[in-house]
């Protein structure tokens, strides 16, 4: 099935607004004083949760595109990735501003001393070059091959993000476990496709360019 380009544009527009729902929800809860007894913690957890969710959504695009044979899905991937970065910025800003209130010595100490903050901060820093090189112009400038190698960092970022969540919770690891399982799933699907392509007769260069 091939979707007409105008349908893809509509879907993309609808997806853009859907991606803003978690932010709109936080704003609505805030205005109506429904963020609970500890609003800063609520915003921190919610923005962090959605960062991980968008990272996983981004990483699901390629497996879904292949399994469902819907090539147009690829056109949503950059937007999902940028929303992951957007919610990561919200998460980081909440921590620096609302939680620590720009107490830089304390923040530096936190990042260096607390493993869960170290990995979370690393993941955030690694996201920056990916967001910065997300434009078509940057893809051209880097060249497709180098761009692709750089953007494989997203696997490490997602793993660090899940670890950040895992190490944060006090005892009940149910949710981090779900995120870890989903991440493992999308990575395993990629691996299976890679093995399949290596076994098939297609030339290696073509197989490589399929892995994204």
């Amino acid at each position: 099935m091939v979707l007409q380009p105008r349908y893809v544009t509509w879907i993309k527009t609808a997806a853009f607004f859907a991606c803003l729902i978690p932010l709109a929800r936080l704003a609505w809860l805030g205005v109506h004083n429904r963020l609970g007894a500890n609003p800063i913690e609520y915003i921190t957890h919610s923005s962090g949760w959605w960062t991980l969710a968008f990272l996983l959504i981004t990483l699901s695009v390629t497996p879904l595109r292949r399994l469902l044979n819907q090539p147009w899905l690829l056109r949503l991937r950059r937007m999902f990735g940028l929303f992951a970065f957007f919610y990561a910025c919200l998460h980081f800003t909440t921590y620096v501003w609302l939680d620590q209130f720009f107490d830089w010595p304390e923040i530096v100490k936190d990042v260096g001393k607390r493993p869960f903050i170290t990995v979370g901060f690393s993941a955030f820093v690694l996201l920056i070059p990916l967001a910065a090189t997300s434009t078509n112009a940057m893809v051209k400038r880097l060249g497709g091959r180098r761009w692709q190698i750089l953007h494989r960092l997203v696997y490490a970022i997602a793993a660090l993000g899940v670890l950040h969540f895992w190490w944060l919770v006090k005892k009940d690891i149910t949710e981090p476990f779900i995120f870890a399982s989903l991440l493992a799933l999308v990575l395993i699907i990629r691996l299976l496709y890679l093995l399949k392509q290596q076994r098939s007769a297609s030339p290696p260069s073509a197989a490589r360019s399929q892995v994204a």
């Binding site: 609970g36 500890n38 949760w49 209130f101 944060l168 009940d172």
Partner: protein, 317 residues
Amino acid sequence: MLIRRPTGIKPSEITSQSLYRGRREFIRAAAVLGTAGGLAAASLLTPRDARSATKFADLKKGPFNTDEPLTAFESITTYNNYYEFGTDKEDPSANAGKLKTRPWTVKVEGEVKKPRTFDIEDLLKLAPLEERIYRMRCVEGWSMVIPWVGYPLSDLIKRVEPTGNAKFLEFYTLLDPEQMPGQKQPILDWPYVEGLRMDEAMHPLTLLSVGLYGRPLPNQNGAPVRMVVPWKYGFKSAKSIVRIRFTSQQPKVSWELSAPNEYGFYSNVNPTVDHPRWSQAKERRIGEFRKRETLMFNGYGDQVAGLYAGMDLKKFF
């Protein structure tokens, strides 16, 4: 995490602090009159608030009360940790409805001359109830100011006459996964067990609590009877207690068993000893925006520092 929308009480249903104070004054006056009519009038005057009927009538003001602003009733009752009802802060208020707090007994046993099983109604009358306004510091880095109702645990301890071997106390929370759905998950080794050293348990700050904000404890806050040990992190104060055992050995307590490198037996509030995963130097008082400095022994150092003289608190954290 924390995606659930807070359920429960609407802001319009919350007793404001001024109304609360006013009502306390009124009930005090009613108690002075000492007539059933007076109390009936009190409940008639606030017909919207069904809980007022069960308010404690004659609380005396306890010693050690802080004059800091009280944390809102809604916050105290909808944001807390009580893993027996789930691990999110909103879970206890959402899931504690099934807990039956009557009939209820507390078995007191072990190294005592007069072991006894107390009915909750007898426990309520064992000593005069006081209002104790204490700071509460959670190990997670947030804090509240809570007007508890209760009496010193020492009043109970004296009744059962500990033997010379009694060096520690163990507190057991109810074990019943039907009433406490969180116990269906092996998050901790149920039942929840906490413990105190004998001198900590006898300390006049250590409270056996049966209420807050002038009324019986809501289920989610540890009804019908719980401990309050204000200079220790909140988890040291066992909730919904069914058994107290006096022992000669230091008890193995739930959080210490679960993660010995993170939670020690003493767990005194200490801004200089960090949790392995986060700093304990500061805390967020619920309702406040900026964090505040955490005080040694949660600000009760004048009263309790002597209990730990000569101890290395970095080792005995």
